[in-house]
């Protein structure tokens, strides 16, 4: 079994995710990009797990999925609230915490 292909796929997905997080203004798309990065990590975990014949990778992946679901729930709730307050979900406009 070739590990490299999986790692390559994961790296590509991760980079797309990073790009999305850094470049997009829409908060929903930023959240989707974060999801992409997490799933890239999941692919890595499962791939290494299968490569080393260990169940630990899959277990970790399951945990990551669970946490990701919770994270998206919280994130989307915040986005909804921001939208209600400001009628916009553009991230560069939400800069009230500036020092």
């Amino acid at each position: 079994m070739l590990l490299n292909q999986f790692l390559f796929l994961a790296a590509v997905l991760f980079c797309i995710g990073v790009y999305g997080v850094l470049a997009r203004r829409n908060a929903v798309l930023v959240l989707a990009s974060i999801e992409l990065m997490l799933n890239a990590v999941n692919i890595n975990l499962v791939a290494f797990g299968a490569y080393r014949h260990s169940i630990a990778g899959q277990v970790f992946a399951l945990f990551v999925i669970t946490i990701a679901a919770a994270e998206v729930g919280v994130g989307l709730a915040i986005v909804v609230l921001i939208f209600r307050n400001r009628a916009s979900i553009a991230l560069d406009e939400a800069d009230l915490l500036k020092g």
């Binding site: 850094l22 991230l91 939400a94 800069d95 009230l96």
Partner: protein, 663 residues
């Protein structure tokens, strides 16, 4: 064995009641009296159980000991526990029954008092302290009980402290006994080291009797302990506090005189008797005159003599107590251990009865003075007959309690070959009978001289009198008519010591006849003087030497004057003046010097160290924080994506470093 093994419950119950009354007493229906009576009643039942168990134990009886580790310090382990033998069981019984009677009696006597609840709390603590002292198995615990008893007596004597006389009496009692307590504390420390750094009393007795401690050390220890006994048990010359202690409520006087406080000293001697026996060479160890017997003997006579000239009924009884305590100490001093303790036992009943009876009189007449009484025989029948029973018991009339115990003391003095103290005992018996006859005459016969209409005491006061009257009649029969109950149950046994140190004496008919005859003559002489108006009346007014003698007694041998003018004034004036000079010049000079130097040092510290160094550092820290914050705020844009870019950039940088260094 439950009652003997768990004897710690007996002091613990009134101890707990003290706190209960203090915190909840005011809200109870009986204002705290109910808790106090229930607690002491429970203690009494436990003591009764212990007594029954002790008596039913098969001979030879062994003391029941139980202890827990109290504290460890410098390699010494100190235990706290109970040592229950015949002496302790007897004391538990006496203390709890007298305390119970006093508790019940006080409901009537103290009715409507402004500090009624506090009074009951103090009574409970007083009882608990005395019981702790009695059950203690080591001298340290005993000392704690001893001091607590002192504190409680202080609180109760000064119960009506609004009047200056009362608070002064409380202070006098406390300070006078404290003089003796210094000796006690030094004695305990001496014996602690003498016994190989051990506070245990049984161990101490064993060592003392088997020659484990040198005679000189024991002599010093015994004399120091004796000083404590003299203070606490009101022996000559520290007896002066006891008559003044009459300032307290009368039931408290009964408790102090019969069961707690003053008998603590006698109990201490009996408890560590090995030390006294070897240290002072008592009885079989040598028949010389020793300090213990001498002090007891002097106290018997001076106390009895003073009782003749008092007008205050409680003071008559107080001097009588001093005299009777003298008997107990004298008995212990001549080696008649059982006799002394037996006298303590019987005395508790009739002296408590006399005090409660006098309380009933005072309650009715509203005066302490016998010159305000008279003719009360018809008006207060219960008080009258119980008082007469107690007086006859005190005088030593067959077959009442005092007869048997006093007779045993005389027997002890005669068999121990102490003729001097035999005479003291006989003369004391004569005087006792005479002064009690005088008191009874002045109270109950003749015309009523007071104001108002005296009435009989309420039932809560009358019943304790009746119960104690039964005790005053019957207590002596525990060692009477050829029955050796008391000496068998209560004896001075030290395990491992088989030597015959304590003599047990059989009843002697001739001596008993003599003592009875002497007491009857005493009564007869006094009765002739007062009832039949015989003898030299008015002698003290006509005759110079007689007047001087009367005055000498009235002034209590000028002992109070000597203490106040001789001891206290001599300290107050010259020494106080010297101390004042020393204070003004030496101490103040020193203090001022210290203050001046401190001022200079403080000035330097303020100007140089505080202003420059400390403030500099504080200001510098603030300035640095402000400046660095000013710079850092530029990267705080509030844009999440910019933060994320920095985050990923940094992560990438670290990843690069990782790859380069591991490659």
């Amino acid at each position: 064995m439950f009652f003997l093994r768990n004897a710690w419950l007996v002091p613990a119950v009134p101890g707990a009641c003290f706190f209960l009354i203090l915190f909840f007493g005011k809200r109870m229906p009986g204002k705290g009296a109910d808790i106090g009576i229930a607690g002491v009643g429970l203690s009494f039942l436990l003591s009764l159980g212990a007594a029954v168990k002790w008596i039913s134990m098969s001979t030879p009886r062994h003391a029941v000991e139980r202890h827990v580790t109290w504290f460890k310090m410098g390699g010494i382990t100190v235990h706290a526990g109970t040592h229950i033998d015949g002496l302790a069981v007897m004391m538990l019984f006496v203390v709890t029954i007298v305390s119970l009677m006093v508790h019940v009696y006080s409901v009537g006597y103290m009715h409507g008092d402004r500090r009624f609840t506090f009074y009951y709390a103090a009574l409970s603590l007083f009882t608990a302290s005395m019981l702790t002292l009695v059950t203690a198995d080591n001298t340290l615990l005993l000392l704690i009980g001893w001091e607590l008893v002192g504190v409680c007596s202080f609180m109760l004597i000064g119960h009506w402290w609004e009047e200056e006389v009362n608070s002064a009496a409380a202070v006098k009692a406390f300070i006078t006994t404290r003089v003796g307590d210094v000796g006690l504390m030094l004695g305990i420390i001496t014996l602690f080291y003498a016994a190989g750094q051990n506070f245990d009393i049984a161990h101490l007795n064993r060592l003392a009797l088997t020659g484990g401690i040198s005679h000189h050390l024991l002599l010093v220890g015994a004399l120091l302990l004796l000083l404590g006994v003299v203070g606490k048990s009101a022996q000559f010359p520290l007896h002066v506090w006891l008559p003044d202690a009459m300032a307290g409520p009368t039931p408290v006087s009964a408790l102090i005189h019969a069961a707690t406080m003053v008998v603590a000293g006698v109990y201490l001697v009996a408890r560590v008797y090995g030390v006294f026996l070897s240290g002072l060479s008592i009885g079989p160890l040598g028949n010389g005159i020793n300090a213990l017997a001498l002090i007891g003997g002097i106290t018997v006579l001076i106390g009895a003599a003073l009782a003749f000239v008092q007008d205050d009924v409680k003071r008559v009884l107080a001097y009588s107590t001093i005299s009777q305590l003298g008997y107990m100490v004298m008995a212990l001093g001549v080696g008649a251990w059982t006799a002394g303790i037996f006298h303590l036992f019987t005395h508790a009943f009739f002296k408590a009865l006399l005090f409660l009876g006098s309380g009933s009189l005072i309650h009715a007449v509203h005066s302490n003075n016998m010159s305000d009484m008279g003719g009360l025989r018809k008006r207060m029948p219960t008080t009258f007959w119980t008082f007469i029973v107690a007086s006859l018991a005190l005088a030593g009339i067959f077959p009442l309690a005092g007869f048997w115990s006093k007779d045993e003391i005389l027997l002890g003095a005669s068999r121990g070959d102490y003729p001097l103290f035999l005479w003291v005992g006989v003369i004391g018996a004569f005087m006792t009978a005479a002064y009690m006859t005088r008191a009874c005459y002045l109270i109950f016969w003749g015309e009523y001289r007071g104001e108002g209409h005296p009435h009989e005491a309420p039932p809560s006061m009358a019943w304790p009198l009746r119960i104690l009257a039964v005790g005053s009649i019957g207590a002596g029969w525990l060692s009477a008519f050829g029955f050796h109950g008391f000496p068998n149950w209560v004896s001075f046994d030290v395990e491992g010591v088989t030597r015959e140190v304590i003599h047990e004496y059989a009843f002697s008919v001739p001596l008993a006849a003599i003592s009875l005859a002497v007491a009857l003559i005493g009564i007869g002489v006094a009765a002739g003087y007062y009832f039949r108006n015989l003898g030299p009346h008015g002698l003290t007014r006509r005759n110079g030497p007689a007047r001087a003698g009367y005055r000498f007694l009235e002034e209590k041998y000028y002992l109070d004057k000597i203490y106040i003018d001789g001891v206290i004034r001599s300290i107050q004036y010259p020494i106080a003046r010297g101390m004042y000079w020393f204070d003004q010049h030496v101490i103040d000079g020193f203090v001022n010097g210290v203050a001046f130097v401190s001022g200079k040092v403080a000035g330097f510290v303020y100007n140089v160290i505080d202003q420059k160094v400390v403030d500099g550092a504080v200001n510098g820290a603030g300035f640095t924080a402000e400046e660095s914050g000013g710079i850092l705020r530029y990267i705080q844009t509030g844009r999440v994506q910019q933060y994320a870019a920095v985050l990923f950039g940094a992560a990438g940088l670290f990843a690069l470093i990782l790859v380069l260094t591991t490659a």
